[in-house]
Symmetry: C2
């Protein structure tokens, strides 16, 4: 890598660090003023943003992006309006910084308080969604963190135009423009440099496909908060309300199959399998032509009912399909369901459908996933649905944040002690 590039990225991170010290001490009103300016600028600069986006779209069509990729990349006046709306929604959210977590007075009279503070400098590494540029900048700013954004090359012109508006909004609110910086190159070497700046950058959040996330996790000496996959399970227990179980699996599988909280796996207790599986299978097929990939026992039941399905491979049982495909297995017991999930799931979201409270409590205690739901669709594991107001991602890690990461999860804390001259004996 060129020494110039390394110097440039290091200098950018140093400026982010300096800005973060300012951000950590400023008022909520000032942060909200910057967000208000940004929302207005997004509307006022509609035309310029669409022009920049068109440059990316032209390149995209030349570079054989898939239609799904092009769709994610595309801005429209309506999408810009929604983006400005999402910025305004963050203004309404409570400022997490300064919140008192707990306090106590020690026997020696030392008063101790833990208060929420920003993490510091957060690096966001993402792919071709321009809305991530705004979402992440806004959530980092509201939580008092400086952000370093590294978007994908497919989105470079759009991101550059958006980053200019963010700078302008910061300047209008009299905040350091270094508080949000876009890395002005999509050179992989710049990313690799960033990922080693562990004295300046405090956290890396990768957002995108699994290969990007793995690259970041493998190459970063900075702590990374991530989720790789959502291989989510629904378990229909022997004591399930079958109508409810059918409604939940249809929703979990078909309402939005391309997202991480969609169900990929169905486990059915043997005692209800003959009654439940044919009806549920018909409903899944009727709703979205779901392809059912079955173990021997569920296959026999569906064959007897003359319902289309295919035989599952072992790989299907741990696969995030992100498509209208569902792997189906019959289990002997609640214990087997729990063991199967703890072995095969990605630890994202699982759901049990049962009228048996004891079974539900056991499932919730023993299943080791970020969210464990009882009689509800896996699709609810989401920052908005969980009441966080917005999310920067969903973590399947266990340190710091697990599940949806909102403003609170973008914060650290510090210990403040107030004494009267105490010394240690």
């Amino acid at each position: 890598m060129s020494a110039d590039l390394e110097h440039h990225i290091t200098s950018l991170a140093q400026r982010a660090r300096a800005a973060s010290l300012v951000l950590a001490t400023i008022s909520t009103a000032k942060k909200n003023a910057a967000l208000q300016h940004l929302a207005e600028l997004l509307i006022q600069n509609n035309a310029a943003l669409l022009t920049a986006n068109t440059r990316d779209l032209v390149a995209a069509s030349e570079n054989d992006l898939t239609s799904a990729q092009i769709d994610r990349l595309t801005l429209t006046p309506e999408r810009l309006h929604h983006l400005a709306e999402s910025v305004r929604q963050v203004i309404e959210l409570p400022d997490p910084v300064g919140e008192l977590l707990d306090e106590s007075t020690r026997p020696n009279g030392l008063l101790l308080r833990r208060v929420r503070v920003p993490i510091g400098v957060i690096g966001i590494v993402y792919e071709a969604r321009p809305n991530v540029t705004i979402d992440c900048a806004v959530l980092c700013l509201k939580s008092g963190n400086a952000a370093i954004l590294r978007g994908g090359k497919e989105c470079f012109h759009t991101n550059t135009a958006l980053a200019e508006l963010i700078s302008l909004a910061l300047a209008k609110a009299d905040l350091p423009t270094d508080a949000v910086q876009l890395i002005p190159t999509t050179d992989r070497a710049a990313l690799t440099t960033l990922l080693k700046l562990d004295t300046l950058v405090h956290c890396i959040i990768p957002r995108g496909g699994e290969s990007l996330i793995r690259f970041v996790a493998q190459n970063s000496t900075i702590p990374v908060i991530k989720h790789y996959q959502g291989v989510c399970f629904v378990y229909a227990d022997r004591a399930a309300d079958l109508t409810m179980a059918e409604r939940i699996i249809v929703n979990a599988k078909t309402s939005r199959p391309g997202v991480c909280n969609a169900a990929e796996q169905l486990l059915v207790h043997r005692e209800i399998a003959e009654n439940f599986l044919p009806t549920a299978a018909r409903a899944l097929i009727a709703a979205a032509k779901v392809e059912l990939r079955c173990d021997a026992e569920s296959s026999a039941i569906l064959s007897a009912a003359q319902i289309a399905h295919v035989a599952a491979t072992n790989a299907d049982y741990t696969t995030e399909f992100l498509a209208q495909i569902l792997a189906v297995r019959v289990v002997d017991s609640l214990d087997q369901a729990i063991a199967t999930i703890n072995r095969d799931s990605s630890g994202h979201t699982e759901s049990i459908v049962t009228e048996d409270e004891t079974a539900a409590r056991k499932f919730q205690t023993a299943v080791d996933s970020a969210a464990v739901l009882w009689n509800a669709s896996t699709r609810f594991n989401d920052g908005f649905e969980f009441g966080l107001g917005a999310e920067i991602g969903i973590s399947t890690d266990r340190l710091h944040a697990r599940g949806p990461m909102g403003l609170r999860e973008l914060c650290s804390y510090k210990w403040l002690g107030t004494g009267t001259g105490q010394v240690r004996g």
Copy 2:
């Protein structure tokens, strides 16, 4: 590395993972029973432990360990008694697992609760202190985590003997003995293998010297919670009570200079420097022959008062001396003190001495360190002193835990949702 060794370490981690799923669901009483057995076994097996320790001590004297290293390695009947006592103290601490963090009911009726759960499998990488083996095993067990211990070669026989007792205590309490496992080799390749097992091990906590911690941080794909250094500052403000400031800097510097919360740096506001520095310097020299490494201004004041000192180098201003050495600087203002600390400190613990509440609040808000104390010695940043009951270390990271890590910080959380058949629109 040999495929055998890699297979062995992987298999050990798989068994730890399986044990962690059991530990996550068991009662406090059962965990405490294992701790009670361990405390008894440490006393009953006094002789066998001392014999094992003697083997390490013989090797140590052959391998030219320093006297400080040998002291840390040495067990005595009295130290074993203290170790058993420390185990009993953890029995008395509240079990963090299952604690309700918050709950809310969403507009759709979904009841959401966040509850504290164990992290899962924790790898502890440490050097030659046999008490770490017991402390870490006990804290991990009480918080429901499986532990993989990797101690230093200097302590291998002692650790092996201690690990056997831990296994016995687990078995006596009918808990899986895989809940605490010692890696049965100090081969570096075994450590490197462990640090890559990110699907089985959820957190690595290195304890030891900076080079060990850096090795772990650079080579681990598992999240690491660490602290590198404690370059702690005391700032005597213009409005300081000079007697209090003297008492605090003497305590912070001299009460135990080899620990991370000892002060290494003194900043003095110019307005009080002439009055404060000669008296404080005499007190530091009287208490522990402290070597004062001074900037030009503080040097001039001490020279005028005929007090011994040396000129500081730039490196002194960011050095963790871990010795009776103190770097001294005069600053113009509170703002300069804050900027100096945010540039030069390690983010561990800083203290301001002042009677001016506005200055203290500003200092506490703007200084970006794990603990920021007002009118108290830096030596208080410690799990026991902060009321956590025990600590596994002090984190200068910002994610997950910052400052002392007790049982609570050895936990993650999960989201539990209770519905009545809710699906997402």
